[in-house]
Symmetry: C2
Subunit: 346 residues, 2 copies
């Protein structure tokens, strides 16, 4: 049944009667129902408890009525399963108390049995699928090797990313070793998620945005390409979201189905650039959800019009929904996409 | 004499025997000679004391041997001269203790006599010109109206800029009033700098990077265009640096001479996009200066090669130099540009 869902069909550039919509970080802090659970449990405990993770994953399907669910989790569960001590404070972001700063630290990572230690994620997938009962497809996700490496080496969020950049320039062999280890684990991890029941997977490369085109090719895209070529998808669409890239030409050559687009681009311009060879996902500015309803409606229409008519558009924000976003505006946004998009599929 | 300098000629797309180079934030914390002065005076005092501002402005000419000087100052001296209490802590960034959150707060800005209260900047320009004694041209700068408004409304740096975005979406008339006030002050301010002796001016739109293309047009580019059309340059080149924009087509229509390019773009691709109608300034990743010398040399060559042969390239980093950058690497980078660029001007 999910194979015929609007979301899966749009990812595969098949015709749909309207544009499907979901929201990055839709299971999150802007929802009072999420905060009620979060007050009682810390963030990592929620990730590691399938009952809780599945519950918050399903919340936006009931409340916001999006066309796909995305498993509540965090991209940093992989380095955590490799033995790095992770502390996630939602207001400050993640912190590793012993970041990687040497080749030796990479060799000390516990890379055997990572996916077995992440079995709690697979249990959460299965429990979520039961709760969804076929209503909408379930997306699983991973960070890209580059984006995971940024956190593992910097140890926390960064303004200038000079620590990870110094590392890749001064110790390129060690950096490539780390990226390859991550790529191999990500393949196993996403394959396991698909086997557990995920209907699609998305690779988040948030920190693509800090790389020059040549460094992006060498330190990020190379490993995303390797992952895409080695996934056993069984037909599940693969979505790649490389935030902040200036060109989509090389991304369009990936063995994937859909590309995420951040809000600083014209989605119609990207569609032309890649000649419609991939579905596109995006790309309204998340802060528009703080605007009056009339502006939300206008911006929704603007993005739909920019993409234009025909198949291959999955509506989303251009980045994750922000914590203080009004729920009512989020609901209205989803209604607008559903109502306004039909005419682009006439 | 400065009219015949490499920098001014390159800004005007006139032939030069090699590519000129300067560095954004070249008068700054990475230099021990700067830190020695900074230890004795707070940041704003340095901006407001022509003797000190001119001294640190000239330092990189002697130490790094760049082809242009840029006046030591801060973009936020304009809102400070409008009566907003500013605290600049270099490790944390600027803080306004009473940010603008209403139309009324805008009306309370002291917009008469702003440039008179900024006379210390003009004195610093004159003193710097004496110290430079014609060796290299002097660049004056301003933030764009949008970038200044971001700081004035957010009150400090921001991760998501949801306060300024909420403001422009919910109170567009007030936002436009603020942007127009700033644009008018910036015109007066840059004109006064040119009259005081600046040989070129640059407009920094750092936070162009957070806007969708349509919001960039409405809330930023419109006012940059107005400034460019109303400057009395007397032939001084005007450089516009809009960081993070996805398209240069509209920037290429500005009444300006040169466009800054951040490091996430291929500068050669931008040159083609605008059909060589403006000089381009940029664009090496600032973190490359943390790399071994061989990598610095290779990346310098890569940027030169991307731009290609002929006039109209001013070498720079793609953003400001970072505080911990090794001085030796910075000197080597400038040497590399000087040595390697000659063959692109054969």
């Amino acid at each position: 049944m999910n194979e015929n869902s609007l979301f899966i069909r749009a990812c595969k550039r098949q015709e749909t009667e309207r544009t499907p919509v979901w929201i990055m970080r839709q299971a999150g802090r802007y929802l009072p129902e999420y905060r009620a659970i979060r007050e009682k449990h810390d963030f990592l405990t929620m990730c590691k408890t399938p009952e809780l993770a599945s519950e918050v994953t399903v919340q936006p399907i009931d409340i916001i009525k999006t066309d796909a669910a995305i498993l509540f989790s965090d991209i940093l569960v992989i380095p955590e399963a490799m033995g790095m001590n992770l502390d996630i404070i939602e207001s400050q972001g993640p912190v590793f108390d012993s970041p990687i700063r040497s080749a030796k630290a990479i060799e000390n990572l516990n890379i055997e049995g990572v996916v077995e230690r992440l079995n709690y994620v697979m249990e959460a997938v299965k429990m979520t699928k039961e709760k969804l009962a076929g209503r909408v497809p379930l997306i699983g996700f991973s960070g890209s090797p580059w984006t995971l490496a940024c956190y593992m080496v910097e140890g926390k969020g960064s303004k200038n990313f000079d620590i990870i950049k110094s590392f890749i320039y001064n110790e390129p062999a060690a950096a490539h070793r780390l990226l390859q280890i991550l790529a191999d684990s990500i393949i196993e991890y996403l394959n396991a998620k698909i086997r557990a029941g995920c209907d699609a997977v998305q690779i988040f490369d948030t920190w693509a945005s800090i790389l020059s085109p040549s460094d992006f090719e060498e330190f990020s895209l190379k490993y995303i390409r390797y992952i895409c070529e080695n996934l056993e998808t069984g037909g599940a669409p693969v979505i790649v979201f490389a935030k902040g890239v200036s060109s989509y030409a090389k991304l369009a050559e990936l063995k994937c189905d859909s590309l995420g687009v951040d809000w600083t681009k014209e989605i119609g311009t990207v569609r032309k650039e890649i000649n419609g060879t991939k579905a596109l996902q995006g790309n309204m500015d998340p802060t528009v959800l703080f605007a009056p309803k009339q502006k939300i409606r206008e911006e929704t229409e603007r993005v739909l019009e920019s993409y234009g008519t025909g198949a291959g558009h999955v509506f989303n924000l251009g980045h994750g929904i922000l914590p203080k976003t009004p729920v009512e505006n989020t609901q209205y946004f989803v209604e607008c996409v559903k109502e306004l998009s039909a005419k682009y599929h006439a």
